[in-house]
């Protein structure tokens, strides 16, 4: 089972510049672990030391914020579109 993950610019240094990658996982938690396997260092940017999604990072599954779904336990299915969206930088 594979889902598509859209990667924001600040995290592309982990994905060799790719703005979209394929990854695996039954839920968001497993997906983040799978991303970490392929792109070491990325998990620490998305999650805090307790493993929760950092509060200023928004993760969307097919356009819905996982905070309003089941957070890290939000289940995923083949072909889902996931976006990782940070806050906005200056000017």
């Amino acid at each position: 089972m594979s889902v598509r993950v859209r990667v924001p610019t600040p995290l592309r240094k982990f994905t060799n510049g790719a703005d979209e990658v394929a990854a695996q996982g039954q839920n968001v938690r497993a997906l983040v672990d799978d991303l970490e396997k392929s792109y070491p260092g990325i998990k620490e940017r998305i999650c805090d030391e307790t493993g929760k999604i950092r509060r200023f990072v928004n993760v969307y599954v097919n356009g819905d914020d996982i905070r309003f779904l089941q957070n890290l336990e939000t289940s995923l299915k083949e072909g889902d579109n996931i976006s990782i969206v940070p806050a906005i930088a200056g000017g």
Binding site: A87, I88, A89, G90
Partner: protein, 333 residues
């Protein structure tokens, strides 16, 4: 009376004649300087900390200053002729300022912003009647910069682009107003000037003025500690399109601020000082306290770019009560 601030406030006659002006643009600048008295607990009694309240500008942020200066200069130089449309890319506050100024001076305004700017900003800008084009939220403010360039290239004669990242009038506005105001408001006793960097206009312009007045004044920038951050309005220079007006060599020091520390400081300022600000102000205050703790004496001035009402729907306030216990914060609720 236990609380000295209360005693002072009750004892003084606080009547001041309010300003009477012809245009909302006459209200830009001359913002108050607030002494921060409770939050700096534990610092040397010889250190005083002040914050410039840029939220008091009519558009609600520090961006009124550069926006007005860039538009004035555009009109003066003839580049912003009648019938032209003002366009720029922005993370929000510059957009609000341009939308307001365009309305007053009768220029249409088009803005390019990442689609995830706060709902409040979107509504404020639409209330002023400006047109907004949204860029991909995954590309951040650099995506807005690039999309704005594309729109401009297709129709170069239609637009006037202030270009806040590269226009020297951005920092010039702060050289002419913010810097002198701060110097005057501290009777020339300022020793440290601390400000966050977005376009870097504030620190470049006000910093240059202050250095000219007294080369010993330390000019210190605050930036997000990582490329991925939640400090709306601030830029992590190493991973961003570097603004043309930014000259790192003009800084004495750069202090990184984590999003978590900045957010915690926003909660503290609301509960301890009674002032609700945005996250970039939290970052500025956090860095200012770090400097203050190392000093025996000094007059530190930082800039609070805006108030907090534009961020109430953002992640800053998502689950904030759960996070108040982080660190050594003492809260009563």
């Amino acid at each position: 009376m236990a609380n000295p601030t209360a005693a002072r406030w009750i004892a003084s006659e606080r009547f001041r004649e309010p300003k009477k002006v012809e245009s909302v643009l006459d209200l830009v600048g001359e913002t108050p300087l607030l002494e921060i008295r409770k939050t700096p607990e534990g610092i040397s009694p010889g250190v005083r900390i002040f914050a410039k309240l840029e939220g008091m500008n009519p558009g609600g942020s520090v961006k009124d200053r550069p926006a007005l200066k860039m538009i004035q200069e555009g009109i003066k130089s003839g580049k912003l002729a009648a019938g032209k449309t003002i366009i720029d890319s922005t993370s929000g506050n510059t957009g609000i300022a341009l939308a307001m100024i365009g309305r007053v001076l009768d220029y249409p305004v088009e803005l390019v912003m990442p689609s995830n700017v706060s709902a409040e900003r979107k509504r404020i800008i639409s209330a002023y009647g400006a047109k907004v084009t949204y860029s991909d939220q995954l590309e951040g403010s650099d995506g807005a910069i690039l999309l704005c360039r594309e729109i401009l290239e297709k129709n170069p004669d239609k637009y006037f682009k202030p270009d806040q990242y590269c226009n020297p009038m951005n920092s010039q506005a702060h050289y002419e107003t913010t810097g002198p105001e701060v110097y005057r408001q501290t009777d020339g006793r300022i020793t440290h000037f601390i400000a966050g960097i977005g376009t870097s206009g504030t620190i470049m312009g006000a910093g240059r003025y202050l250095k000219e007045k007294n080369s010993k004044i330390r000019v210190i920038a605050v930036e997000p500690d990582d490329a991925l951050h939640g400090l709306e309005g601030l830029k992590h220079m190493a991973t961003s399109i570097v603004p043309g007006i930014y000259h790192e060599e003009a800084l004495d020091e750069k202090i990184p601020a984590s999003t978590e520390d900045a957010y915690a400081m926003v909660y503290r300022l609301a509960q301890e000082e009674g002032i609700l600000v945005g996250q970039s102000s939290g970052a500025a205050m956090h860095a200012t306290l770090q400097i203050a703790r190392k000093l025996r004496s000094g007059v530190l001035v930082t800039v609070f770019p805006d108030f907090g009402d534009k961020y109430l729907t953002t992640n800053l306030w998502v689950g904030w009560r759960d996070r108040m216990s982080v660190g050594n914060l003492k809260f009563s609720i």
